[in-house]
């Protein structure tokens, strides 16, 4: 890369980032150039960090940036190398590997993964590829080869208790390091392929999996909690916004007079009665039947998070009939214990184990009829699959009419709504329905809640 082409390269990088959905504006590009004027370009770390600080403005963006940066400059280097006919001589003195040597390689790689040293991992990735190329195990498809090599090396994130105690793989390897090693393998394989064929494969857009932050089910729980904390703030402040800021400001005469003593009896500063923030009252109905099994965990974690943040809240789970679980959530703080207890003694399945919405609505109405009022919010979590039973939308309409607002969160993609026995359309006319199976969509729902006018119009 000649220096005078750098500005063009940086612009291309910006363009590529935009394609991957990072909001890079002109001002960001200008910043990037300004920053490059201040640092030395010889240190790759500084160069990358400086660009990242100006171009990627959130943790997610940062992650995409890392991937795009690597891909972009990797390709740029390879293009230049292919043009100038530079080849890396990786046909090094690696002869046929014996089984012992392979074991040594395994141990070395596992140790490098555990310590997370990037340089060592890179070298070892190349050695592994060379070793396996020799055993003619290459399939020609890079993704398949990567997994094949990983398996052959016995690299797993789960603990492998059958291994000897001094083996670093015994307790399982860090997931993040494994992922990085796979990325290195992939890159080295790509490099080899480019060298063989002499031209570049088309750039591959980042998949959803690549860009997602590494997370386990429990990390998701944390994400749900974060979103629900937002939800609480918005529900709490939004009542006043809808009614106008000053409408209910009553002057507190006593405090005003008292304050006026400071200014010689002239009431300069008016003291207002504090506005009591309206306490949102929430009723949540959560489907726990088998058709939503996969979503149930997600829903229960939403419920759990809601209970952590709202005090005036009642929750119900239902399949064929309804059961109030407010107490369980109040007494159990641990998510696992909660889901176990609900599974054991909620007693919502009757005979068939299929959801019966009609019965659920009438039971719900019976239980809370007197408590529902226009300031209450009802949230239903369910897939609206009635198993052919009567949806009884008329009772649902009564509930929606009594409550201030009614929302429906459906764990199915919108595409499947109203197919088969899904009758969400029948309910949707009385409430606002949201597709909700990721935390991102949960966030959308929270955002929608902040537009009170639209919701109130319903």
């Amino acid at each position: 890369m000649s220096p005078d082409s750098l500005p063009a390269r940086i612009l291309e990088l910006g363009e590529e980032l935009r394609r991957e959905g990072v909001a890079v504006g002109t001002s960001e590009m200008l910043d990037a150039f300004a920053v490059l004027g201040e640092i030395s370009w010889t240190s790759q770390e500084d160069f990358r960090e400086a660009l990242a600080a100006t171009l990627a403005k959130s943790q997610e963006d940062r992650r995409v940036f890392e991937l795009v940066f690597d891909r972009f400059f990797f390709r740029a280097v390879e293009v230049a190398a292919a043009q100038q006919g530079i080849r890396e001589d990786d046909e090094a003195s690696l002869g046929e590997l014996s089984e012992e040597e392979l074991d040594a390689l395994r141990a070395q790689i596992a140790a490098a993964l555990r310590d997370g040293s990037e340089g060592a991992m890179r070298d070892l990735a190349r050695m592994a590829i060379a070793a396996f190329a020799r055993r003619q195990e290459g399939s020609g498809v890079i993704g398949v080869d990567v997994q094949r090599i990983r398996r052959a090396l016995g690299l797993r994130a789960e603990p492998q208790p059958e291994l000897p105690a001094d083996d670093p793989r015994r307790d399982g390897l860090p997931r993040e390091a494994l992922r990085r090693f796979e990325a290195l393998l992939r890159r080295e394989l790509e490099r080899a392929q480019i060298e063989r064929t002499g031209n570049l494969p088309p750039a591959r857009p980042l998949g959803e999996l690549d860009r997602a932050l590494p997370s386990g089910p429990l990390a998701d729980l944390a994400a749900v909690h974060r979103v629900v904390a937002q939800l609480r703030r918005r529900l709490a402040t939004q009542g006043q916004q809808a009614r106008g800021h000053r409408r209910h400001a009553h002057v507190d005469v006593r405090r005003t007079m008292r304050a006026s003593l400071q200014t010689g009896g002239v009431p300069v500063v008016l003291k207002f009665r504090p506005r009591r923030p309206r306490r949102p009252e929430i009723y949540v109905l959560c489907d726990v039947s088998t058709s939503v099994t996969s979503a149930s965990v997600f829903f229960l974690s939403v419920l759990h998070a809601l209970h952590d943040t709202f005090r005036k809240m009642r929750s119900f789970v239902f399949i064929e009939r309804i059961s109030e679980v407010t107490d369980i959530f109040e007494h159990e703080r641990n998510f696992k214990a909660v889901s176990e207890r609900i599974g054991n003694d909620a007693g919502v399945a009757d005979i068939s184990g299929y959801t019966d919405y009609g019965r659920v609505w009438s039971e719900f109405l019976l239980q809370v009829e007197d408590d529902l009022h226009p300031r209450a919010t009802v949230i239903v979590l369910g897939d609206a699959r009635t198993n052919g039973r009567d949806p009884r939308a008329d009772i649902f309409a009564q509930i929606a009419a009594r409550a201030g607002r009614t929302f429906w969160l459906n764990p199915e993609p919108r595409l499947y709504w109203n197919y088969g026995d899904s009758v969400i359309a029948a309910y949707e006319q009385y409430c606002t329905a949201f597709e909700c199976w990721t935390t991102a969509q949960l966030e959308d729902f929270v955002r929608a809640l902040t537009r009170p006018v639209i919701a109130a119009a319903r």
């Binding site: 100006t54 990390a219 300069v268």
Partner: protein
């Protein structure tokens, strides 16, 4: 009041000329910066752009601002944000009482025009943190802490300050900054900040430090702790963070724990000491159960702490 000014700057102001210099300087005042931290701090002083620092609670976001201030030999002006923070608390406010007294004192004889000119002068202005930072004669470090706690409207108001370093006061006109403050905004990511604000800032993500880095930090703050215990401590903290907790232990808490162990004269962290002192690093009851179960057991069997 949320504003506080730190003690008068101790050294003469410094203008760093390389990333290494910033890194050295921050180390000298007791803050061990990661690579990107030093780089972004350097860029901030060079380009005069505000820095948005994000990261989990307790990784030293606020500390960074304090360290920068003391390294650069500048005063630290801090604006602590909270829900409902408004312009009167952040920018400036007219000192009503003084104005009123003035009017009463001059009640007879003076014309309205004369009084009006008088009472909207700088004498009657109560400068709040942002105003203080802009109007200061000496360059300062401005820390806008926990910006995510404020409302979006407040963010919009900040835009003028952050991009042009000026404040418009209707009665006085524009107050332009005389010097260029270094601005740090911190956020715990409890809400998404607006694009407009982000666009004006450099971005720095601070995460929990790597093992070696944290070890260095702990040893800096608790130098008397023996090397083996310190290493063990950092490893245990790493294990605790890897669990899914409501509140993972922060760097400040590892330092606290190190000091606690020092006071107790502990030679090695075994399951017993861990269970006794765990409350220093874990602050939720449910978390404590999880940690006791998962980490406490591991500590029981020696040697294989990965």
């Amino acid at each position: 009041m949320s504003a506080s000014s730190s003690a008068a700057p101790s050294a003469v102001s410094v203008a760093p000329d390389s990333v290494a210099a910033v890194s050295e300087g921050l180390r000298a005042v007791g803050y061990l910066p990661g690579e990107s931290t030093a780089l972004v701090s350097y860029l901030a002083t060079k380009l005069g752009k505000p820095v948005l620092v994000e990261g989990p609670a307790g990784v030293g976001k606020t500390e960074l601002a304090k360290a920068l201030a003391s390294y650069l030999g500048r005063e630290l002006v801090r604006l602590q944000c909270y829900e409902g923070l408004d312009e009167a608390k952040a920018l400036y406010e007219w000192n009503y009482r003084k104005q009123l007294l003035r009017i009463q004192a001059e009640a007879s004889g003076t014309g309205w025009d004369a009084v009006q000119d008088d009472i909207f002068g700088e004498e009657f202005l109560l400068a709040r943190p942002l105003m203080t930072a802009i109007a200061s004669e000496e360059p300062v470090v401005l820390l806008i802490d926990e910006i995510d706690k404020t409302d979006q409207e407040f963010e919009a108001m900040l835009l003028e300050v952050l991009s042009d370093f000026q404040i418009s006061i209707p009665e006085l006109g524009r107050v332009q900054s005389r010097t260029h403050p270094v601005v740090l905004l911190t956020s715990n990511n409890s809400r998404e900040l607006t694009e407009a604000l982000k666009r004006r800032c450099l971005y720095l993500w601070l995460d929990y430090p790597a093992l070696e880095h944290e070890l260095e930090i702990v040893r800096l703050h608790a130098p008397e702790l023996s090397a083996t215990v310190a290493r063990r401590l950092v490893e245990v903290i790493g294990m605790v963070r890897a669990l899914d907790l409501k509140k993972p232990p922060s760097i400040a808490e590892s330092i606290d724990w190190a000091r606690a162990l020092l006071l107790l004269g502990v030679e090695d962290i075994d399951a017993e000491t861990f269970n006794e002192t765990m409350s220093v690093i874990v602050k939720h009851r449910t978390d404590m159960d999880v940690v006791a179960e998962r980490v406490g057991l591991k500590l029981g069997s020696p040697a294989d702490v990965a």
